[in-house]
């Protein structure tokens, strides 16, 4: 004990005597500890936030899908386009029954992901279709109403093609278009359309609008919906982050979709309104200037070219009123409503905010702000694996969001669809369908020909390529055919809720009672699947999240590598400093050795000096780290990108620091420091007393 006290006193004295060098080494240790405490705290917080984002939005704790799938499950995208091949679980009820039998499994939710086209038509196509239906129904009032609308749009098209004629060289083609437009603008066309049907088919006027006028409008664009087919009601109850944003939940036993609010705002909102808001955010929140930023100028250009997204929606009275208001708002402005709106949308830094206010106060109430409102029936179209097209009319019951992830594009990727509609659009080949196709094929009696042998097989010896056939009286193409068999999907059909579990699912989310028991639950599910012959592949939420999971691994890797490098540098610097210090203390150490101090004593002295320095610097570093993370826990770390919003489970991360982070920092710095001292200590033990007695040079 006396020896220890002596060594302690000597160590303190030595540290104090070389306080310049030791301060440097101590600062390095302090910084290392600070970094470990801060880094591991933030990483742990990201881990928890990300776990919440992924497990409580879509993934659950585990995901299962068929082993026969060629791709890995990637809920947030694999980085490649197209739907992944995950195989199929043809009977989900069996999977659910087996998995719920595994201890610790709380819920199993069926899922299937696919992309769908949202059917859209131009304003002109919509109007012509309404006119056709009104004419078929003999509804003259509606015919008059739609006719006025079409003529107003024709007036706008006339002005548009007039402008094009001034710019383009091909006048002949433009004159043909203008002739079409002028015919529609004239009274004669509409009198003939309302009059008695002509001799041929009675719909010549509609056909003219449909085939000659409508193709001149070219503003239609495609919209794609990524939807997760699931048991929507159970999904909403099970995933804690789920929150209905507008509308109502899809009632059990009814078809429908819930759109992700982020998707609804970002893609289905009127493009002019969207661009106005984006420009305001860029200028007000991000401090950018339109006159300095070419990207913003391009955005303004694109927005002003979208003027017809406003003008085509206005009736004559609205158009005249808005034109008058715009002339008041922009003194000196002249021209048609098209000209005025286009000019209004050419915003700059000086007028952006007043025009933004004017737009939402005066223009927005006159137009449809979304491609379709909540409550509407929309038409979705899917391209099946077989290459055929499947369509359905589906009601939009509402919008939803994942709490805290409202601004995350990744979390906004999925909308929800009832499982029965999803299965209908998926177009699974059933045994009945297979038999029907085999029957059609057999009746045709066609021989298969291979591409490589086609020329010989079709045109070789004995081939005759022409023959005369006698005319037939005709044939009845509809004999034995039921054209109504495919069934109209009116979006209002109901189904037995029990059927949701009975049928195919592409994958399923498994939720556990205890997130800490994922590895055990995974092993147990694999075992149960094997025993029941389900052929399931089981992946944890991190693997299932695809490109996001890889991002998380990357972030974690970068942070650990950074900490590793810091410690390596610290190790080298401490080592060098201590070696230098040892060489400078040769006399002192030799003198200690002369009266009989053993080499063990010298080693212990060196290690104790480092331990004391490490504990002191480490404690200070850990305290600083603790204070810093606590401050961040209040102020928050802003998420700079969409991906980070998702990883942070919100627009800011509020990290917290635990005892484990502080202890990890302290232990790490002490261990690294002691390791760095082993070599200098070894040098010191090799110093002989005679060296101390040698005269200095």
């Amino acid at each position: 004990m006396d020896t220890l006290r002596l060594i302690g006193a000597m160590a303190w004295r030595n540290l104090w005597n070389a306080k310049g060098k030791n301060t440097l080494v101590g600062l390095l240790m302090l910084f290392g500890t600070f970094l470990v405490v801060t880094g591991t705290s933030i990483l742990d917080s990201i881990d928890r936030a990300m776990t919440r984002s992924i497990t409580q939005s879509v993934a659950g704790h585990l995901q299962v899908h068929s082993k026969e799938g060629r791709d890995d499950l990637a809920l947030f995208g694999s980085g490649f386009m197209g739907a992944d091949d995950l195989g199929l679980m043809p009977d989900f009820s069996r999977v659910k029954q087996v998995l719920l039998g595994v201890p610790g499994v709380r819920a199993v939710i069926p899922m299937g992901t696919d992309f769908f086209d949202i059917y859209t038509a131009t304003e002109m196509d919509h109007a012509i279709e309404r006119l056709r239906k009104a004419l078929e129904a003999g509804d003259t009032a509606r015919v008059d109403l739609v006719a006025t609308r079409i003529r107003a749009m024709a007036d706008l098209l006339r002005a548009e093609f007039g402008r094009r004629k001034q710019i383009l060289r091909n006048h002949e083609e433009i004159d043909q278009h203008l002739a079409v437009i002028d015919r529609v603008r004239g009274d004669g066309f509409w009198n003939a359309l309302r009059g008695p049907p002509s001799a041929d088919d009675g719909t010549a006027g509609i056909e003219f609008l449909d085939t000659q006028l409508a193709p001149l409008v070219d503003e239609n664009e495609g919209y794609y919906l990524q939807a997760l087919g699931t048991n929507v009601q159970e999904f909403s109850r099970t995933f804690e982050q789920f929150e209905l944003a507008s509308g109502t939940m899809i009632p059990e036993g009814q078809h429908g979709v819930l759109l992700n609010q982020k998707f609804y705002d970002d893609y289905l909102r009127n493009p002019v309104a969207r661009a106005m808001d984006q420009l305001r955010d860029d200028v007000v929140e991000k401090g950018k200037r339109i006159d300095e930023d070419p990207l913003l100028r391009a955005k303004v250009g694109r927005m002003s070219r979208q003027y017809r997204r406003i003008t085509f929606q206005l009736d004559v009275a609205q158009s005249e009123r808005l034109a008058a208001e715009l002339r008041d708002f922009m003194p000196g402005a002249t021209g048609s409503i098209d000209d005025l709106v286009q000019r209004f949308l050419q915003v700059d830094d000086s007028n952006l905010l007043p025009r933004h206010r004017f737009f939402f106060a005066e223009v927005a109430p006159l137009i449809r702000m979304y491609l379709f409102p909540v409550g509407d029936l929309i038409t979705l179209r899917a391209y099946t694996r077989a290459g055929t097209i499947k369509s359905a009319n589906v009601k939009v019951w509402g919008t939803f969001r994942f709490k805290g992830l409202e601004k995350s594009a990744l979390a906004g990727g999925h909308s929800l669809m009832d499982m029965m509609t999803f299965r209908g659009l998926y177009g699974l080949m059933t045994e009945d369908k297979r038999k029907e196709l085999a029957g059609i094929k057999e009746a045709a009696g066609l021989k298969d020909v291979d591409r490589d042998q086609a020329e010989d097989a079709l045109f070789g010896e004995g081939a005759e390529v022409e023959r005369k056939v006698e005319p037939k009286a005709g044939f009845d193409e509809f004999r034995g055919v039921d054209l109504a068999a495919s069934g109209r999907s009116d979006g209002n059909g109901t189904f037995d809720p029990a059927l949701v579990d009975k049928g195919l699912a592409m994958h399923a989310a498994v939720l556990l009672d205890d997130i800490g028991r994922i590895p055990e639950a995974r092993a147990a599910i694999e075992q149960a699947s094997e025993a029941a012959g389900l052929g399931l592949k089981v992946v944890d939420w991190e693997q299932a999240s695809g490109i996001v999971g890889q991002l998380v691994v990357l972030v974690r890797g970068v942070l650990y590598v950074a900490i590793g490098i810091i410690f390596l540098v610290a190790l080298v610097i401490i080592n060098n400093t201590m070696v230098m210090a040892t060489l400078e203390r040769t006399m002192e150490i030799g003198t200690m050795r002369a009266p009989g101090a053993m080499s063990g004593l010298v080693r212990r002295l060196f290690l104790l000096e480092t331990l004391l320095l490490g504990l002191l610097a480490g404690t200070l570093g850990a305290a600083l780290g603790f204070a810093f993370v606590t401050h961040l826990g209040t102020a928050g770390i802003p998420a700079p990108t969409d991906e980070m919003i998702f990883l942070f489970s919100g627009p800011r991360l509020f990290p917290d620091v635990g005892a484990d982070n502080v202890i990890a920092g302290l232990v790490a710095i002490v261990v690294v420091s002691l390791l760095a001292t082993l070599y200098p200590a070894a040098i010191a033990t090799r110093i002989e007393p005679v060296v101390a007695m040698s005269p200095r040079e």
Binding site: E207, D210, T379, T388, I389, E436, D448, E455, A484
Partner: protein, 259 residues
């Protein structure tokens, strides 16, 4: 409008047949293409029952039965799917340069392009429609070749700038003896070969309205050259040349079929 070409057909046919002896000059090549078009065109109406099959690697075969209605004089075409049940009532309507698709499950019409893969197969609208090679393409004679046991003319076709066609470059091989097209290859603008089609069986039927035979390919074998191994086959099982109802080429008529 097309009735005006009838006297020309009477004149062009012997010229073209005479011109089939190889090799062909520019006028002979043009006449050959015109003959190909004219012999398939009926001045009256046309109705055909069609079997359509598509085979693709690792996928279930697609099989359809459909009826095709044509009124060449008015540039109108209607295709109505009859089988299988899941596709029954789906249809395409072409009027001038507009191609519309109707989906009976949603009751919606949709504009489609010339590149539309009919029913998800490798076939395009032009495979079912009247032949318009002379109208849509500029022909250039390539040479005489053998195709199996047949001597054929090889002609390159480049789409005219105003033509709206699925493939901007085509190569066709025409039987010297009968004047029937036996093979065609369709290319993208880049020159990439997209598909190869064979026409091994032609049938001709007397048309009272035309006063001459109308030709139609009984079988078209289409091989996808991009996705090797994928192929589609069109079989024209029955043809009738009697007059169709006046209002058949309308959206309302097609909608009414599946109500």
């Amino acid at each position: 409008m097309r009735f005006a070409v009838l006297p020309l057909v009477a004149f062009a046919l012997p010229v073209a047949v005479g011109a089939r002896a190889a090799p062909l000059d520019e006028a002979g090549t043009k006449a050959l293409m015109k003959e190909l078009d004219d012999r398939q065109r009926n001045s009256g109406d046309y109705k055909a029952m069609v079997f359509l099959e598509r085979k693709e690697k690792d996928k279930n075969d697609l099989v359809y039965e459909l009826v095709v209605y044509r009124r060449d004089a008015d540039d109108k075409l209607m295709m109505l799917f009859l089988k299988p049940k899941a596709e029954a009532g789906r249809g395409y309507l072409r009027i001038d340069r507009n191609l519309f698709m109707y989906d009976p499950t949603t009751g919606k019409w949709d504009r489609r392009t010339e590149r539309e893969r009919i029913g998800g197969t490798d076939s395009r609208r032009q495979d079912y429609d009247e032949s318009r090679l002379a109208e849509d393409y500029v022909a250039k004679y390539v040479g005489e070749e053998d195709l199996g046991r047949f001597k054929v003319h090889h002609v390159r076709l480049d789409a005219k700038s105003e033509a709206d066609v699925a493939f901007p470059i085509m190569h066709v091989w025409v039987d010297q003896a009968t004047g029937n097209m036996l093979k065609s290859q369709e290319h993208a603008q880049s020159g990439k070969l997209m598909r190869t089609s064979f026409y091994p069986k032609w049938e001709r039927m007397f048309s009272p309205s035309k006063g001459a035979d109308v030709y139609f390919p009984r079988e078209i074998r289409i091989f996808d050259e991009v996705e090797k191994g994928n192929k589609s086959t069109i079989v024209i099982e029955q043809v009738a040349l009697s007059t169709l109802p006046a209002n058949i080429f309308t959206k309302a008529w097609l909608e009414a079929r599946s109500r």
